[in-house]
Symmetry: C3
Subunit: 160 residues, 3 copies
């Protein structure tokens, strides 16, 4: 592999459980095979990085509203299709458990232990009124320039 | 064109009719111009490769449920927007017919005849309980490593 | 940067407000940093290029129906999630205004002034019965070969 072929970036725009799983399976698969992977979490995808039950004072009404409505972390993710008010998502979760496939939470932890670089998008944080302390630890924060700097050097760039 | 510029990979995650059409139009366009194209069908996209009315014994209840609910092949695909319980999809299909544009089924066949490589994702097959014999013929089966091996050598990689 | 690293292409398939914003933020960010950016608008994304209140004679009933139902330009775009019949989209727009972030319309204009190349997909225009004069000025019209020619030479290619 030449230098470029060793890198992959994923923009994680969606917080759907199925798309998030696809993103983390790609990221952990690539990292296991020796690639340097950067996951850039933006817009709805940013909610996958939220800590659970984190309460922050001094938010505006709209920011608190976003806080209540948006899911917290990978456990809050739902299927993009066949969700059926949560029933489809529950069935899928039980299938994953029964077949001993990794859960979304497991994949997230696996990514960290494989040194996948996690970046939270600054513009999205500002838009939704999310502060750094509300997000999981050991991540970076960066804008579109950070993403592009990585993507230009990567063989595989996907928007999920 | 150098070697890398001759290759394209598409992850087909969605089974929406509109997105599937976009994927096959890209794939057949690229293959016609001499590029080597790999389409990697995962999650909902996997249902685009299902044979019609295929019945397999020995499935669990949940697997049979997936079998009933999930569409079978390209004919079962629906628009991602303006579906209106199928009415929008029917209108779009009649427009395609009237204007003599290729149907999704035609594009699928065209892809095969242009030697587009079709790969079904092993993890998705396991998750949904879909066996190789339920999928259309002359395709490969592979995991994320298969995809990444191809993508690293390709100039154009998209997630659809 | 070598030659390839200076180029990016974005297929804008979606007309969701959130995805369109992501596309234009990426495009304007890349163009500001000296990259050559091509945005290829296809399927629903094509509606982002429509002029407002443009009436054209001689359309079929179905084409006129598309004209009524499909949004006109960036102002008509809606959130892909939490839209709540438009309420979520209005809240997001007021947040963007309050925080002085660029609106989708501003980003579109910024892209033009930064010489981002805008291409409308011929197949989608034919499918939806949209004529060149219904689209905003100073754009190109092209098919899948136009897109692939650009994408093969680009370091970053995304499907949004």
């Amino acid at each position: 592999m030449d230098k470029t072929q060793k890198r992959m970036t994923l923009i994680v725009f969606s917080n759907d459980m199925d798309k998030a799983m696809a993103a983390f399976i790609l990221a952990t698969g690539a990292a296991s095979s020796g690639m340097q992977v950067t996951m850039y979490f933006t817009f709805w995808g940013l909610t996958l990085l939220r800590k659970r039950n984190y309460f922050r004072r001094g938010k505006t009404l709209v920011e608190r509203m976003f806080g209540w409505i948006l899911p917290e972390g990978p456990e809050g993710a739902r299927l993009s299709k066949l969700n059926f008010l949560g029933a489809g998502t529950s069935v899928m979760k039980s299938v994953i458990k029964k077949k001993k496939l990794p859960r979304l939470e497991d994949l997230t932890n696996m990514a960290s232990s494989l040194d996948v670089k996690i970046v939270a998008c600054t513009t999205s944080m500002e838009m939704m009124g999310i502060k750094p302390e509300e997000l999981i630890d050991d991540i970076e924060i960066g804008g579109v320039a950070t993403y592009l700097g990585e993507a230009r050097k990567s063989a595989v760039n996907l928007f999920i």
